[in-house]
Subunit: 257 residues, 2 copies
């Protein structure tokens, strides 16, 4: 089963026009972005360079204006990471922001059928298109830093030394991507073959068909040499278990049609 | 520890000029691409659209001219997947090929330090820039289909119904990306903090520091209802074990400085 999801083609202000189906799409698209540790951010580096560049960046979905907004609502994408000088300069030099594409893909399994032609991968993927600008407002920047930290490791922010010092604030780069549109794709299910192959008993007696689950699991936390906290904190072991459970459930659910 | 790797800035023909260091770089960059199930392929969709598009595609590194070439040698990148009409048309309409960027990222762990500022992710990533063209030569296309199938699931091709029928050949899209350059990045190691935080005993008594391993593991293969092969074939169970071992080793190795 393959589903292609589309962001509603509507002005971002017209939130009241999102219907249930659109809201569902937004949630699927946003949650695919939100559950990926690293996002791929593509941009055009310069008019005379024909190649787009893809940078791996850590990021999160959120709304500074409406911090309690859920994943099914219109959100911005905040990214932090290896903001190259070039990308930061391009974002700063573009009055409306640097056009970027953000993508994330989660693989759930290898689908092995009778023929290579019918082989597939169970996955969900999402892309967002939007304009990236450097976050200058200090309150928004601090909020986005917490958003991103807690997205990578839930409840971590409050358990560390915060707030950041002013030198830490100024040397951290956060980009807000104002989302203009996006789409998602989901491939679920088992192997399917052409009838002629499925009716070939000799072939079916010879070729194993099924799905190999693929899961991004989190292992037992390994303390640093300098760590002075006796046990792994409860919020962290809970998060690690939850992420691994999510991965296992995701792989299992993806096998259903 | 962070390392940035660069593809040698040399004409692709001048293979003899790659020295040991360059070869090592190529191997790291190529193997990052090669061990990722899904690759991100970015391209500019049209001159009047400011947003690059990123597509998730299945692909593999290889050389049709020198099929025995190792990952440390100059290679093309072959991709197969959701070749949109637009991308295929663009590739067909560009005499030298469509400029694309291919990227892959493997996350090995979450690095949790005393401050959010010093938090990091252990990962390796690679990008390749090159010109994508549709593979028209049938021998090369067949070879690339086997290359990609066996990259996703080693030894699978020969265990299925091959060769593909002519209708399967003609409805399969394979793109060859002639690589012009690339780079890679590796972040390994443990958490590091500023001296002032490290010397704050109260802080260290309160904040757990260390690494949460992240591993893309492969689960026990799940047979389809229609499967007639009694046991999971040996090549498949061996591959599944190997991929999981690689993920566990990768996460462990990434914790070393």
């Amino acid at each position: 089963m393959v589903r292609t999801l589309e962001y509603p083609k509507t002005d971002k202000n017209k939130v009241q026009r999102y219907n249930a189906r659109a809201a569902y799409d937004l949630e699927t698209i946003h949650s695919t972005i939100q559950t990926s540790i690293v996002l791929n951010v593509a941009f055009a580096p310069s008019p005379d360079n024909p190649f787009p560049i893809i940078l791996p960046m850590v990021g999160a979905m959120g709304s500074f204006a409406h911090p309690s907004a859920s994943l099914s609502e219109p959100l911005d994408c905040y990214v932090h990471g290896y903001v190259t000088n070039r990308m930061a300069r391009l974002a700063r030099d573009s009055p409306q922001g640097l056009p970027v594409c953000v993508s994330a893909t989660k693989v759930h399994g290898l689908v092995l059928s009778l023929t290579p032609y019918s082989h597939d991968v169970n996955y969900k993927s999402a892309v967002l298109m939007g304009y990236a600008s450097i976050v200058e407002d200090q309150a928004e920047k601090l909020w986005a830093m917490e958003l991103i930290t807690d997205k990578v490791c839930r409840d971590r922010w409050a358990e560390t030394r915060v707030p950041p010092k002013s030198a830490e604030m100024s040397s951290t780069g956060i980009l807000r991507i104002r989302v203009e549109g996006g789409s998602g794709k989901v491939r679920n299910g088992v192997a399917h073959d052409e009838r002629e192959d499925e009716e070939d008993e000799a072939l079916r007696g010879r070729v194993w068909t099924g799905v190999v689950p693929v899961m991004e699991v989190y292992g037992e936390p390994v303390a640093d040499e300098g760590n002075k906290v006796a046990n792994v904190p409860e919020y962290l072991s809970r998060y690690v278990s939850r992420k691994t459970e999510e991965a296992e459930t995701g792989a299992k659910e993806a096998m259903k049609e």
